[in-house]
Symmetry: C2
Subunit: 833 residues, 2 copies
């Protein structure tokens, strides 16, 4: 593809015009930031040839004729049939002519450029940089119309076909970058609202762009408000509504529908469909005579365009106002979970305009209002899985599931999404051990259900010793869980009871908390200076060989060969000692379940527990017929690089809980899987022996549909490039070299990396936890400036991606984190006298 | 509109052909049942003039040419431009010609009819009942092609415009009924798969039908699998994808896309969009010459149509097979909540194919497979609010929310759906008292959060007497709730603790349950023989005047004037006696919260608690600074005829919980609202004093979007015809006369009716609860045959509709229930010797 140098001069992206985009445009994903200082719209159509360009010209004229805005940018990113068809040239010509006809007081400097053209089209491009000054004696000053065609092909076919036939391919990222640059040009230095931009798409809303990506998907990261040009012809109601729905299904806001009057009153049907008060504007029929200069048509349409302009301006103003107001309103009426409101002043509130795949689009007020992008590095409390492509597919599936099922009640019923999801779970995370799926709404409820299942199973297996038929003995029997210090299982009372006491469980937080567990200190594992070290609890810390506790590679930690090590024997005796101490000391109290988060304690601070220890713990409990629960709410579905973290432990539970990534991170749903042996302990001819637990939206259709789609997507070789060839694991997502380097940094105390999770614990030099948390906060603040939305866990900073996230993106995140840690460290050193 | 009698003869819906549709077709909603014994498809198009009729003819030929099926029904429900345009006549002619050309062994009896035509069109209808026999010597028997146009207008415009211009309006229900009849004709008596039906729509997928309803919405209750005719022209990729998305957004399954080859390879783009393996078939270009008889084109297209036919057949076969398999699979791998699996044999499992507004479409195997409709009279565990129109709007909004936000994390952030929803809640159910919204996932979690809030508030208000700073005293302090016997607040441990002991809370079900409440017996209210009676707990039952305890109208129960009655004074002393007895007997135990379900105990058996009693209870607690929680999970959002049941009590809580109807019954979401005074007790400069409770999907965008839409919808006079003129309440939905009559029936012990809920407790004649539950089960079984999906609560049968449900529908439900109760009663009497 040719970049005509003569034209490039006029498309000079001088550095000053980009100074408010903080990130390098190299290696960026989607976009860095878009100005919100002036109205920007995208014009879409229900089909080709519905008059998008005419309407663009009408809007441009209407804007330039009013006293205020001094500049109008018209952008045609993709043009085929060029140069005989050139929408930007049409706008350039018609708007100039109209200006001359209507407005004598201002003068207009209009230009038309083309940036890149295919070789085939370039042969015919002669003098395609045009500029003219029309009207006015300049008394009241000058106005500017800048029309640009960004990429053009000769054949009048769909852009992806033109690329196939003429060459000149343009990647989506490249095209977006060009558009973004255009949107920033001329904005700086201008007064607010002094400049408008309009992007005209090619063909219909879902027509492919040059790369084949549908345009509605291609431009989605920008999520610029839309004007939809409808179809006034026979059949046009349908086409317009469908196009509208396609835009909505991509998360666009349509601000107005405009259509040509073809005598069929299509606007009436559209208005009755669009019950939300969206304006539908009707333009007079366009003369069919090709020699008509359309000046009269534009005159007749004058009022309609003036209304449209006003609608666009009001909508823009309201949008910006609302974005500003939201911060304060949020502080006034919301009650955030886990948040001390007093510590979140208005200016610290993040206003999220949307998300696209892994990225938030957030509103920021800097030198001007912008919508800027931040990678959601906490994966929105560890729920997120979708790329932007999966998100759009999920959106369509959510619409389908809502339309087909809404929600239908579950007990004694069956419907496709619930059955399909249950089948996939049993063939996936439950493979080889589970045979039943119980659905609930979140991790906490899944855990409560799991505990009820485990206790029943325990009762059943121990009926000889635990007799509850006798009222007196029943009253004195107490069930306890075996759990690890540092593990977390949710915030409802039942789930909390399975956690060790902490400031989260005190009387002030939950007066009903007792802490019904035997809580053991586990050995943990971390990386430091390139090595993986096992840290033993105090009781165990002596007499071990270094080679049993230090590993060059993480995978050695998971090896079954460690079963025969000395450490392994220590673990066995450590566990049995504690279990027998408990049964000696506690009359009538029984350890009736083991509950663990396999491999990683998430909320506890991203600590890795020695997998050998957990494997032995499971084995010892199963020997004593204590049912084993894996809490895979955090670890399930590729979070740790394998579908189920149980694979890393080489053992199976009796019961396991899943949520978060289960639905691709789009909607709440939880599942508790169990073996048939567990299920059987509830089967009887008495209803009272059934599991009498349920939630209204059990197995709701949308949740199950999202889960089905996401589970399949994660393990589809075609859709998840991170899968290893056998499809059983994710490749290393985080750059190994960089990880090693970070692990050696003096500011880093410990490091943990596994699957989609990377975490570092900061060195605090002393025991000042307050200081540590200050470090984290200051680094997190810097990361937000770098376009990374992270949140600290005390003095732990973590980065989390999705199972399909690109390793390139992750390496960029890592590099930025490394840079910020290093920067902090150096500043800190230099500040010490 | 004319019904031409000569034609009607051929459209004779003899009663035998409808014998498998159990319900009267009068007063039906949407449809009664559709045959699933043979393939039925609907053909849709992305726009007008894309060749739907050509493709219909091609499919019909392909089907009739194969040895097996002996009948093909082609149905054109809506035809404009008639009779010069008649798609059924085209199919009739072309298929006959093709049959003659290709198949000599069979003979074909083809007919073409039109049922109703507008007056304008009727003038030109001459001899429009045609029948001919072609081909074959009849050796191998006869085949039948039956082509029907159901409604026709003269002008070639959109049907709704034609109606406007020519008259001859057809209601949606009427049209659906006509189509349903056609689908049943000729099915009975035929072998399975021996008959095909194809319905051809008019124009594009979202073109309006005769009433103005978009066709995709109009035919939605049938949810017949779709063939989509795409657009092979320039711009056609976009139009086809948008049309596909419009169908998906209505819950349709598209089985194949077919399009004419116009040299642009549109199929390639469609295939890459439709990654789910949906077939895209390409037909050769259609000759433009109008004199062409198209026989050669059909020959060229022969293989494509053969493939298409095969795809349609396989898809049909697979669908039916899956519907059959689902029952068993469900029993094998699902674990239903609150269900004793042993009591649910395979044949008792309900296979739900979809829902449309208040109705399930369920699969039944009778004399043949059918999809039949059942009114969801348990509102899917009391969650449901949507009509079919709201459901479709919610579906679009769900798609939009998923595409715009997916899920974004909530703490310290703000995004439109969460803020919007919080605002609406505070202006609605929280009006006048609440100022903060805390989001969680379901009723149980909302209650756990409410309890944590209440306990903190109690601590704060009583810090002088309840000192937790001293470790020793803290350990001995215990918090209790005040609650009513029979109330229910959810299944997680914290929520269970606020409920009185029952078989649901025993050691077998939840070994951790203690029952941390003071549980009082409340006075209840019920209707019997046309009167409303208050039933007092034993302690209170003596010495009251009848006029204080019996009321002619339900509204008198809610009157504030009862505050000065004798009963009111009894309530005060009853409450204070119990409270002081508790504080005397329980050292260091404090009643730290009151929790009630206002007005109705839902899960407890639809018992109405005397609202006067609850009002006094609230007042007495607030006097003693005991925080008051309203559990409005069941009662909120118009369930009881007002937006918040608090309005019926004429008092406000400090904290209230909402879920179920909150989202229109489409997706899980819960909210706990609180006063600013409650919120303030968590504000501090210490994070550890914040409410440390949260769930991953707190305030998830889809849930909040659904809530916003639903809350607005319920109280929009334009959308909810049940609202009283002032918009503060629902009109009486259940026919008052019939309610009275049922309350006098000897089989009825008690009756309760309020808002969207109607419930009867069956008379058991003796204390045999098993017998009672047998009555309920047998009546429920009969109701399912009547198209009502109800579930009993012990010996209580209830019917529940949505806030916008039509009173006509509700009266029909009531009449059916009355009939079944009466039938049971008579059979029962007659069986007594």
């Amino acid at each position: 593809m040719k970049t005509l140098s003569i034209l490039l001069k006029t498309f000079n992206f001088s550095s000053h015009s980009l100074s408010s985009t903080p990130l390098s445009l190299l290696h960026r994903r989607h976009f860095s930031s878009l100005p919100l200082s002036h109205p920007i719209y995208t014009i879409w159509a229900a089909n080709t040839n519905l008059g998008k360009t005419l309407i663009s010209a009408g809007i441009a004229s209407s804007v330039l004729e009013s006293p205020n805005p001094s500049q109008f940018n018209y952008i045609k990113p993709v043009q085929t049939g060029f140069p005989s068809d050139s929408d930007s040239r049409f706008v350039f010509t018609k708007v100039s002519d109209l200006f001359l006809r209507r407005r004598a007081d201002f003068s207009l400097i209009a230009s038309n450029h083309v940036v890149k053209v295919s070789d085939a089209a370039s042969k015919e491009v002669l003098g395609k940089y045009e500029e003219k000054k029309v009207g006015g004696d300049g008394n009241l000053g000058e106005k500017r119309l800048i029309c640009r065609t960004l990429c053009a092909w000769k054949e009048a076919v769909s852009p992806h076909l033109a690329v196939e036939r003429e060459g000149g391919s343009v990647e989506d990222e490249e095209l977006l970058e060009m558009v973004e640059k255009c949107l920033w040009m001329g904005v700086e230095g201008e007064e607010k609202g002094d400049c408008w931009s309009l992007i005209e798409t090619a063909g219909g809303v879902a027509s492919p762009g040059p790369s084949g990506t549908l345009q509605c998907d291609l431009y989605r990261p920008f999520r610029i408000p839309a004007i939809l040009v409808g179809d006034g012809r026979l059949g046009g109601i349908s086409g317009t509504i469908s196009a509208y729905e396609t835009l909505k299904l991509r998360g666009y806001d349509v601000v107005a529908v405009v259509l040509e009057d073809r005598g069929l009153a299509n606007d009436g049907s559209l208005l009755s469909y669009l019950q939300n008060g969206l304006p539908v504007l009707v333009l007079p029929p366009v003369p069919q005579d090709l020699s008509d200069d359309l000046m009269e048509w534009f005159d007749e349409s004058h009022d309609a365009f003036a209304s449209l302009k006003q609608i666009l301006l009001s909508s823009f103003t309201e949008r910006v106002k609302r974005l500003h107001d939201m911060r304060k309103k949020a502080g006034d009426i919301l009650w955030w979970p886990f948040t001390q409101h007093q510590l979140v002043p208005k200016e610290k509130v993040t206003v999220i305009d949307s998300r696209c795949g892994e990225n938030f689009a957030v509103h920021k007020v800097d030198s001007c209002d912008v919508i800027t992008q931040q990678f959601d590095a906490c994966a929105s409390w560890w729920t997120q899985g979708p790329t932007s492509a999966l998100q759009i597919e999920l959106a369509r599936d959510m619409g389908y599931a809502a339309a087909r099922y809404g929600h239908v009640m579950f007990p004694e019923n069956v419907y496709e999404p619930a059955l399909d999801c249950a089948e996939l779970l049993l063939e996936g995370v439950g493979k080889g051990w589970a045979s039943r799926t119980f659905f609930s709404d979140n991790g906490s409820t899944a855990i409560e259900v799991a505990l009820k299942m485990a206790f029943r199973k325990f009762l059943y297996d121990h009926e000889a010793t635990v007799d509850i038929s006798d009222q007196n003995s029943k009253r004195s029997i107490e069930f306890r869980v075996l759990a690890l210090n540092g593990s977390y299982h949710g915030d409802t009372l039942g789930a909390m009871e399975a956690q060790a006491p902490s400031s989260y469980t005190g009387f002030l937080q939950q007066p009903w908390y007792i802490g019904r567990g035997l809580f053991m200190d586990p050995p943990t594992v971390y990386m430091q200076c390139g090595n993986w070290n096992v840290e033993l609890p105090n009781e165990l810390s002596e007499g071990h060989k270094l080679e049993d506790l230090t590993f060059g590679f993480r995978d050695e930690l998971f090896s079954k060969s460690r079963d025969s090590s000395d450490v392994s024997r220590s673990y066995v005796s450590y566990i049995s000692k504690q279990l027998s101490a408990f049964s000696r000391s506690e009359q009538n109290k029984w350890i009736a379940a083991l509950i663990i988060e396999p491999v990683i304690h998430g909320a506890g601070g991203m600590h890795m527990v020695d997998p050998l220890f957990q494997r032995i713990l499971v084995r010892e409990c199963q020997k004593q017929k204590i049912p084993v629960i894996f809490d895979e709410v955090f670890t399930g579905f590729w979070r740790l690089g394998v579908e189920s973290a149980a694979e890393l432990l080489h053992c199976s539970p009796d019961i396991a809980c899943y949520a978060k990534l289960l639905t691709g991170g789009i909607i709440p749903l939880a599942a508790t899987l169990a073996t048939e042996a567990v299920f059987d302990t509830f089967v009887s001819d008495s209803k009272l022996k059934a599991l009498l637990h349920g939630h209204s939206y059990s197995a709701h259709a949308m949740g199950c549909t999202a889960a089905t789609k996401s589970i399949k997507n994660y393990k589809d070789q075609k859709k998840n490039p991170n899968l290893t060839p056998n499809g059983r694991a994710l490749k290393e997502i985080w750059d190994t070299e960089l990880v090693n380097k970070i692990s050696m940094h003096p500011q880093i105390k410990r490091l943990m990396v596994l699957g989609t999770v990377f975490a570092v614990e900061l060195q605090t030099h002393g025991s000042n936890a307050g200081y540590a948390s200050t470090i984290a906060t200051s680094i997190i603040q810097k990361l937000r400036e770098d376009g990374i939305y992270a949140r600290p866990l005390g003095n732990v900073i973590y980065l989390m991606c999705g199972p399909c996230s690109s390793p390139r993106t992750c390496s960029e995140l890592l590099a930025k984190l490394h840079h910020r840690i290093d920067e902090f460290h150096k500043n800190n050193l230099s500040s010490i006298p």
